[in-house]
Amino acid sequence: MSKSNKARGKDKAFAVWGISCTMIGLILLAIFVGNIVYDGITRIDWSFLTSLPSRKPEKAGSYTAMMGTVWILVCTAITAFPIGVAAAIYLEEYAKKSRLANLLEINISNLAGVPSIIYGLLGLEVFVRIMDLGASVLAGSFTLALLILPIIIVATRESIRAVPSSIKEASLAMGATKWQTIWNQTLPASFGGILTGVIIALSRAVGETAPLIVIGALAYVPFAPETPMDEFSVLPIQIFNWASRPQHGFAQNAAAAIIILLVITFVMNGIAVYFRNRWQKKMKW
């Protein structure tokens, strides 16, 4: 075989290898999800969705975990959204090119790489102990808000940057102040992109387990939260708890709860993609 034929053979072989690699992750994921759905789908019925946890697998349900997830989702959103957007506005519009801006940027980059369990340790010390919030929804959502803040900040900055500077110029030339320009022109124009980023960040928060375990969220919580100061559990923790039990019934419960969690995650990501596409169409000036 001539040298160039050998090279072409390798070239073609790699094409096959490359496609296989690309597919293998997705195929495995499909197998995993398929397995779970097969195991758990029959377990999902009205009683499963409305029952409280129990020591008997047949009686146990995901109600409190689902309610906890909703509470955490809402409280985290309320906390993280305004702070994240405000921080991004400051970095993009007010703090250009100073040493402070550099420091803030590097710091945010760094925070994005800190393992989520470390945020749990921070939350445990500061929110649960020092601020005496206990293992409450509030402590949990503050902790998660800090965790997802970098995601929101980066997404918001990108959306703001995408607004053409000619719009800002036109507004300033008409006598608008900096804030008036931001509030009336920049933010409305970047809103779609910001929303996308926030939804993706929240879908990450919904799937978090470790930081909430560290701050003390329990698996056996026999009630749904009624105030932000109540104790709580969330779907991922419930799954963790059931997966750790030996009885097969609990394994099936875990599979069922995973289906619910995956549905929530994929729906949220789907909504985010939908908004991103709509916004990108709008941005064709």
């Binding site: 053409p164 719009i167 110029e169 036109a170 300033l172 030339a173 008409m174 006598g175 008036q180 009336n184």
Partner: protein, 281 residues
């Protein structure tokens, strides 16, 4: 009266009439100075963009800034509404006066300045909002809330900008759906809605087709009755068509400035003549 006496009287009357006409002409010419620039130098970092310019522009007139690309016309224009403030490294020396008052002083309210001195940009830049919201924006940021008043001012502005008839049926339509020429007239309308006294135009028709250009030139001609207009243009025919005064810039200096008719028919400097006759630029 004897015939000689009649002739003397006629001569005297003539002379009186002549001097009266000259007097009136002088009075008419002594319009107040709206904008004044003295000893202006502009730097971007170490680069000097403008070298020692003096200029006065009277109110209710159109002044055209002409000159080859990069000669500083736009930079000089933007001194009058302080839009250069946002450019990195900008610094200037000298004084700019509006209505006799310095505008580069510490306590100045820049937002108020820009309400008095409006600007229209080269590429039409309407806000991604409805036609109505575009024109009403200037009023909104002033805190005006009276809906009837706003609607009336929007209508007036759109009429002044010669756009009302084309859009009156659907003011809620997005401004981005308008054609280029319409968008530019919209930008003019939203500037007019704020009721400025000066309008700065930075090559307002260079991105437009000839018909839209003609419409806007007609508009400028009408507007000069109420406004002081300064227009930067690459198009010399445009300058000679619509302006009363012309200033020729070259490499950051003001080479010549005077009545348009004179600049174009009888320029004093060779460079001016070369530029006007198309020998460079």
């Amino acid at each position: 009266m004897a015939k000689e006496d009649e002739m003397v009287v006629a001569e005297v009357v003539n002379k009186i009439q002549e001097s009266m006409i000259t007097l009136v002409e002088d009075v008419v010419e002594a319009k107040e100075t709206k904008l004044e620039a003295s000893n202006i130098e502009v730097f971007y970092g170490h680069f000097q963009a403008i070298k020692n310019i003096q200029m006065k522009m009277p109110s209710n007139s159109v002044t055209a800034f002409i000159g080859p690309s990069g000669c500083g016309k736009s930079t000089f224009l933007r001194l009058f509404n302080r839009m250069n403030d946002y450019v990195d490294g900008f610094s200037m020396k000298g004084e700019i006066k509006l209505n006799g008052e310095k505008i580069y002083r510490n306590k100045i309210n820049v937002e108020e300045l820009r309400k008095e001195v409006g600007m229209v940009f080269q590429k039409p830049n309407p806000f991604p909002k409805s036609i109505f919201e575009n024109v009403a924006y200037g009023l909104k940021i002033q805190g005006i809330k009276d809906k009837k008043l706003i609607a009336a001012r929007v209508e007036t502005a759109l009429k002044q900008a010669d756009l009302w008839e084309e859009v009156k049926d659907d003011l809620k339509k997005s401004a981005l759906a308008l054609s280029g020429g319409q968008q530019q007239r919209l930008c003019i309308a939203r500037t007019l809605a704020v009721e400025p006294s000066v309008i700065l135009m930075d090559e307002p028709t260079s991105a437009l087709d000839p018909i839209s250009t003609a419409k806007i030139e007609e508009l400028i001609f009408q507007l000069k009755e109420k406004y002081t207009i300064v227009i930067v243009t690459h198009n010399m025919q445009q300058a000679s068509r619509i302006s009363d005064y012309t200033a020729f810039f070259y490499m950051g200096e003001l080479i010549e400035h005077g009545k348009t008719k004179e600049i174009f028919t009888n320029p004093k400097h060779e460079r001016t003549e070369n530029y006007i006759s198309g020998r460079f630029g």
